[in-house]
């Protein structure tokens, strides 16, 4: 039958694509005006066909619009389709269609009424929305459920264009009433629309009360599968009052676990998991745990795409509630013909479920995978064996023997991967399995990947005293030292030093050679620095060197792809959303960009958009744990002063230098300017000032929360700017949330990041603004503002010039670069002025009386920006005058204007 339909009259649309000749548009236009109805229908079809293949047929707008007055529903649908596509390009003319829409919204045929409402909502022309309200409010109360359900979605459409209109007209209340509608489809769409509005506005428009809850649960039994998903997803956002209510809801939801539609099952799982947190009764938890396992396993029998979604979610579930699937490890064994992306995910879960009970079976399985064809899968399987060893102490020996078997296969990438994980095993269980070193050493020549080489070298260095020819082995690597990857070079350097400390006699010459190569011939700063550190250590105090280089290392554990507890809790709440696929909280990848205005604006959106992109493949990457730790290889010495230092620039600076520095940096004394009045930021008013404490600049921010919801945390990002500034930490977490109506402040540490430099053309004044984007993590809204930066905040301590250098520089700078101004002061005391300047890193160079003018005195000062640009200034004071003349000179004229302003501010 289907084939017949395509042959019968009107079924084959291919003929509409075929007209490609000249004058086609003209011909079409005439056909559109034809009085013969079938010619007209065909003409519209041709237009749509052209639209489908991407041709621009917008010039026929008026002609197509003429066909709108018809009682042929097929023709009407086509014309509406055309309108949706081209309305944006012809907003004026679209208004001509309004009459028809309004008329159609009153048609006796409910299908046409719904069609009109549906189409009107899709036409995103601001002017048309005014006309939409009337028919929409009627349709929301239409007697026909089909019209009502279409109208419900239309409210969400309207909210996207004109939220105020929806609120003013009371559509939200009507929508809320639809939850009690007799027809389940209407309820479903009402819930969907409300959920969306709640999400975009951040307001609780859903307002689930006990009676609403009962209605939702009742509708759950009657709705279509899609409706059930909408309802379950909105239930998952609701917090039950107590454990009893939670249990009650769970009871109504669990039958959904048996649904054929995987989306219904996933959403039901989400509700149950979220509500389980409320329940404390152990046997209830146990029952639910038992109930959740079978449906999750069943999902693995569906299409591979659905399996992938299920597996990514199960990955989270086994971390949160391992009990659910602890006995089901077999179902995660990869099938030979599973797509590779399914196999990879299964592997990840196998490792998570591996326990001492099932490890034998798991190892057999992993060994089997290690002989398969797909290289990535094989590598991951080999590294999985290592991860099992690290996780399960008692199985470590078995794991190692499997790895040795695999090494004997001599397959190049298997051997390399095995070496990498064996290194991790050594780090986990020091001095336990060195017997395998001999086997590893047999395979030195197969290693050609940096990671494997570095691992092998690490092993040689670590166990140098047990390998007879350790120095020879290292020596063989040294021949090609200069061509090696930096990670291998670093590893070689450390291993040689270790070797030397253990057996100084034989390796003296070698260590000298390596240190020479590292410090003199390499242009890699990491390598050079480490080389110098070792050199100095070895030359000053070999015992200290031993203590540092051969110190005990902390035992590692396998935390590959293990999530932080807070993140895990966030993600568990996001089960059955994209967030659970990417394992990232939604605010990191959902950017509500409005490309409504014009499609090409997304080219020049803020740079930070790109950084938020989420690579779907973050599958944890092969390798064992502890990679970055190895690079330092310095035992417990931690030079970074802890990661907190970075988190809060201002404070950390204070800790390190401990020199007080006076109250300059305190948030309160900074002059702040309101930069964001709340109109474009959903009611958040921001005032910003800049400060510098202990040579680290910071941005002092005051927030006034005029929005409806509390602000707990924000993400901040700068656009590239003339000062290379970027926030030291992108997250702003308030100690206490800023409740609606109240205020809060935050001191954002800034760092200089060359990658953030916006190039400034020489001679053109640098723009003083720093463009800032703020994202509210609670509702995902993003707003932007620009603040004028104050250059004195990045004046460095090294801005002082030698007198002679100052004079030379001053003379070298042409007079055309000079900028003058007069600064009003509170007094005429020169010493006070100099002190004020010094506090801001503007350094005093010299002062001298002006010849021929006995009541005047000149002061020379200098300062330097963080990029090294020096600014020289001459201040002329006159006795009894509360002002001075300022002259600023710099080689880099782009910034001298800003420097002049900065010095003026410093003087006040």
């Amino acid at each position: 039958m289907p084939s017949k339909s395509s042959k019968s009259a009107g079924g084959s649309d291919s003929r509409f694509f075929t007209t490609q000749k000249k004058g086609e548009m003209h011909e079409l236009r005439q056909e559109l005006h034809s009085s013969d109805r079938s010619v007209k229908v065909d003409a519209v079809k041709k237009v749509i066909a052209n639209m489908t293949v991407g041709k621009d047929v917008s010039m026929l707008f008026t002609d197509v619009l003429n066909c709108i007055q018809t009682d042929n529903i097929e023709l009407k649908k086509l014309v509406y389709l055309y309108l949706i596509n081209y309305a944006k390009s012809q907003p004026e003319k679209t208004l001509l269609a309004v009459n028809t829409f309004v008329k159609d919204a009153n048609d006796p045929n409910p299908l046409i009424r719904a069609l009109a409402v549906r189409t009107m909502g899709c036409i995103r022309v601001e002017r048309i929305t005014e006309y939409l309200c009337e028919p929409l409010s009627r349709s929301l109360r239409d007697e026909d459920p089909y019209v009502r359900k279409t109208a419900a979605v239309c409210v969400a459409k309207l909210y996207d264009i004109a939220p105020e209109l929806v609120e003013d007209r009371g559509f939200l209340e009507i929508l809320h009433d639809l939850i009690s509608d007799a027809n389940p489809s209407v309820v479903a769409n009402g819930v969907a629309a409300l959920s969306e509005i709640a999400e975009t506005s951040g307001k609780d428009v859903m307002k689930i009360s006990t009676s609403v809850l009962q209605k939702l649960l009742a509708a759950l039994n009657e709705c279509t599968e899609w409706g059930q998903v909408f309802i379950l997803d909105s239930l998952s956002k609701y917090t039950p009052a107590d454990a009893r209510e939670a249990e009650g809801i769970i009871e109504r939801v669990t039958p959904r676990l048996q649904h054929a539609n995987s989306a219904v099952v996933m959403s039901a799982v989400k509700v149950v998991l979220n509500y389980m947190n409320m329940i404390t009764a152990e046997d209830t938890i146990r029952t639910l745990t038992r109930k959740l396992a079978p449906p999750l396993v069943t999902l693995l029998n569906s299409e591979p795409e659905t399996q992938y979604v299920a597996l990514r979610n199960i990955n989270l579930i086994v971390q949160k509630r391992p009990a659910i699937l602890e006995n089901e490890i077999k179902v995660f064994f990869a099938k030979y013909n599973d797509p590779i992306y399914v196999k990879m995910e299964k592997l990840e879960i196998i490792i998570k479920l591996a326990s001492e009970r099932n490890v034998e079976q798991v190892l057999l399985e992993l060994k089997e995978y290690a002989t398969e064809v797909d290289v990535d899968f094989v590598r991951k399987s080999v590294s999985a064996i290592g991860r099992c060893a690290i996780k399960l102490e008692r199985a470590a020996e078995r794991c190692i023997s499997v790895l040795l078997e695999l090494i004997h296969s001599k397959v190049n990438y298997v051997v390399q991967e095995a070496v990498v994980v064996i290194k991790d095993i050594f780090r986990r269980y020091p001095n336990k399995y060195e017997s395998v070193i001999a086997t590893l050493c047999e395979n030195l020549e197969t290693l050609d990947e940096p990671e494997a080489k570095a691992s092998m070298i690490w092993i040689i260095g670590e166990y140098a005293e047990r390998i007879d020819n350790a120095d020879e082995l290292l020596d063989s690597f040294l021949e090609s030292f200069e061509e090696e990857d930096p990670s291998v070079q670093l590893s070689l350097l450390t291993a040689t030093v270790k070797c030397f400390l253990k057996a100084p006699e034989q390796t003296q010459e070698m260590v000298q050679r390596v240190l020479d190569m590292a410090t003199e011939e390499s242009d890699n700063p990491d390598l050079r620095d480490r080389g110098f550190v070792y050199w100095r250590l070895l030359s000053t105090d070999p015992e200290a060197a031993k203590a540092v280089v051969l110190s005990e290392r902390p035992v590692i554990e396998d935390d590959t792809s293990k999530l932080e507890p807070e993140l895990l809790d966030t993600l568990i709440r996001q089960i059955a959303t994209l967030s659970s696929i990417y394992h990232k909280p939604p605010e990191l990848f959902v950017t509500r960009a409005n490309i409504r205005a014009s499609a090409d604006t997304d080219e020049d959106e803020y740079a930070y958009e790109d950084e938020n992109d989420v690579g779907a493949e973050d599958g944890g990457g092969g390798g064992g744990g502890g990679g970055p730790v190895d690079l330092l290889d310095m035992g417990g010495v931690d030079l970074n002063g802890g990661s907190n230092g970075v988190a809060n620039g201002g404070d950390a600076g204070g800790d390190l230098f401990g020199l007080g520095g006076g109250g300059e940096g305190g948030g309160a004394s900074v002059q702040k300017v309101q930069v964001c009045d709340g109109s474009s930021s959903g009611g958040v008013v921001v005032s910003v000032g800049f400060a510098s404490a202990n040579n680290s600049p910071s941005m002092e921010m005051d927030f006034v929360n005029n929005s409806a919801t509390p602000i707990t945390s924000l993400a901040v990002q700068f656009n590239k700017n003339a000062f290379s500034l970027s926030p030291a930490n992108q997250a702003i977490n308030f100690a206490a949330p800023i409740m609606p109506g109240s205020t809060g402040s935050f001191s954002l540490g800034l760092s200089i990041n060359p990658a953030m430099a916006a190039p400034v053309q020489p001679g053109v004044p640098a723009p003083p603004t720093v463009q800032v984007a703020i994202k509210r993590l609670d509702n995902g809204s993003v707003f932007y503002f620009a603040a004028n930066f104050e250059l004195e905040c990045i004046f460095t301590q090294s801005g002082a010039l030698e007198r002679s250098a100052f004079i030379a520089t001053w003379k070298a700078i042409p007079d055309t670069n000079e900028l003058y101004s007069t600064v009003q002061l509170s007094g005429s005391n020169i010493d006070v002025a100099i002190q004020k300047l010094a506090a801001k890193n503007v350094f005093f160079i010299a002062r001298r009386p002006v010849p021929n003018a006995p009541d005047q005195e000149v002061v020379y000062v200098s300062c330097a920006g963080s990029n090294g640009t020096s600014f020289l200034a001459e201040l002329t004071f006159k006795v009894g005058v509360n002002a001075c003349k300022l002259c600023v000179k710099s080689e880099n004229t782009s910034y001298s204007g800003l420097a002049k302003d900065a010095i003026e501010r410093c003087l006040k």
Binding site: G11, S262, E305, V331, G615
Partner: protein, 428 residues
């Protein structure tokens, strides 16, 4: 929710697209083409990708990619299920293996379906039966207005899968119980994994709005009716089952009865999964030995364990051989076997294989010498088969009761068939 939906062919041309929201632009189709199709990884990369802060969820039908684009934090299962359902709807309209040309030739129909099945990115009515009531381009009938009201209540109703007023001369129900067995045996013959997934397919031709009650010999429900005629026999323990949306899940949860008002025609009533007490229909014993670098000797015995009254059909045993195979000398006691270079395997075929019988295959494989020293990966032996009137799980239909106001009698036919699942493998 879904912002845009499109169909793209393997070359990367958009066959047809429909934009539901304007937070994505048409240009996103290019990034999908470049990053996914261009990377030639259609089958291997994950079906959910984030490119330039848009998420692409896609699946394939033959050479057509069905792609959904979104910028929000959607429910990915919902999107995938919608895409599958969309494919099924198109299959119902255009034929099971519809092609790009078929889509192009029916673009007006496609647009209508795009509009009716989704609004503003939210899935709406996707029931094929009901869609066909009012979307039928090509054989458009003028409709009377009073029809419309009943039509819309049908579209939005609680029972949107069945329309009222269906009449059949003969009231019949065909039930097919299809089982597929997945098996994985280790080299030593130990069972690593075994699982039966069954599905109950129904084809109903019933008048009116009948309510049906269906029963399998599921352990839990059998135990419940212990006093009935089935007493003494213990049922099959079913691990898990899922149901067509016509089945009242509340009732099943409460007392394990399967009650429903069926759609008219063919549908899948339920799926189930069994992992215990499985009767494997075949036993395979394989000895494969690599003699040095150039020879492999293969001995395989295949025996059918089911009743001798039954016959298996299209049995194919796929025995892997190394890729550098030059020649195979094969002997079999029953059936035909030949070396298939494109599969790197010996295909051993038995058109009809009686229960309790067995067949042997022995082969001498000569290999071409190669410089490549990597060992042969020894992929598993695969087995394909289908055995009519046999269920590996032991499941059978206990009853199907049909209640309708008019009280007609119904004829019922039940068929069983067991097939190999997508992996019935023996490691060697």
């Amino acid at each position: 929710m879904i912002s845009m939906l499109y169909l793209m062919n393997a070359r990367g041309d958009v066959v047809i697209s429909r934009q539901y929201r304007d937070d994505v632009s048409q240009a996103t189709t290019d990034s999908f083409r470049l990053k996914v199709l261009g990377a030639k990884e259609g089958g291997t990369s994950a079906p959910i990708r984030s490119i330039d802060s848009s998420t692409f969820v896609y699946c394939r039908h033959l050479n057509l990619y069905f792609v959904a684009v979104t910028r929000s934090n959607v429910n990915p299962s919902l999107v995938l299920e919608f895409l599958y359902q969309k494919i099924r709807v198109l299959q119902a309209y255009l034929g099971d293996s519809f092609t790009e040309d078929k889509v192009r030739n029916n673009f007006t129909l496609l647009y209508e379906l795009f509009d009716e099945t989704m609004d503003f990115g939210y899935p709406q009515n996707t029931s094929i039966d009901v869609l066909k009531l009012y979307i039928n381009l090509g054989k458009q009938k003028a409709r009377v207005v009073e029809d419309q009201a009943s039509l819309t209540s049908q579209i939005t109703g609680a029972i949107d899968w069945r329309r009222e007023g269906i009449r059949h001369k003969r009231n019949e129900v065909y039930i097919d119980v299809l089982e597929s067995v997945n098996l994985l045996l280790s080299q030593t013959g130990g069972i690593l994994r075994q699982e039966v997934t069954g599905s109950v397919m129904m084809n109903t031709k019933l008048t009116g709005m009948p309510e049906c009650k269906f029963g399998l010999n599921d352990k839990l429900s059998v135990e419940k009716d212990k006093n009935s005629s089935q007493a003494g026999k213990s049922g099959v323990s079913i691990d898990d089952c899922t149901f067509h949306r016509c089945v009242s899940l509340g009732r099943f949860d409460a007392d394990r009865t399967i009650t429903f008002i069926p759609p008219d025609g063919e549908f899948e009533l339920m799926k189930y999964r069994v992992t215990e007490n499985i009767n494997l229909p075949f036993r395979v014993i394989a000895a494969i030995q690599e003699d040095g670098q150039t020879r492999v000797s293969i001995n395989v015995k295949l025996s059918a364990t089911f009743s001798e009254k039954l016959f298996a059909s299209s049995v194919v045993l796929k025995i892997p051989v190394p890729e550098n195979t030059a020649r195979c000398k094969i002997k079999t006691t029953l059936g035909r076997a030949k070396y298939s270079p494109e599969d790197s395997a010996i295909l051993f075929k038995l058109k009809r294989f009686q229960g309790q019988s067995e067949s042997m295959l022995s082969a001498d494989v000569t290999l071409m010498p190669t410089v490549n020293k990597t060992a042969w990966s020894r992929p598993p032996i695969g087995l394909d088969f289908s055995v009519p009137m046999f269920t590996a799980s032991g499941v059978h239909v206990r009853f199907l009761k049909v209640f309708d106001k008019s009280g007609y009698t119904t004829n019922r036919w039940v068929r069983y068939i067991t097939k190999s699942g997508d992996s019935y493998n023996i490691r060697i």
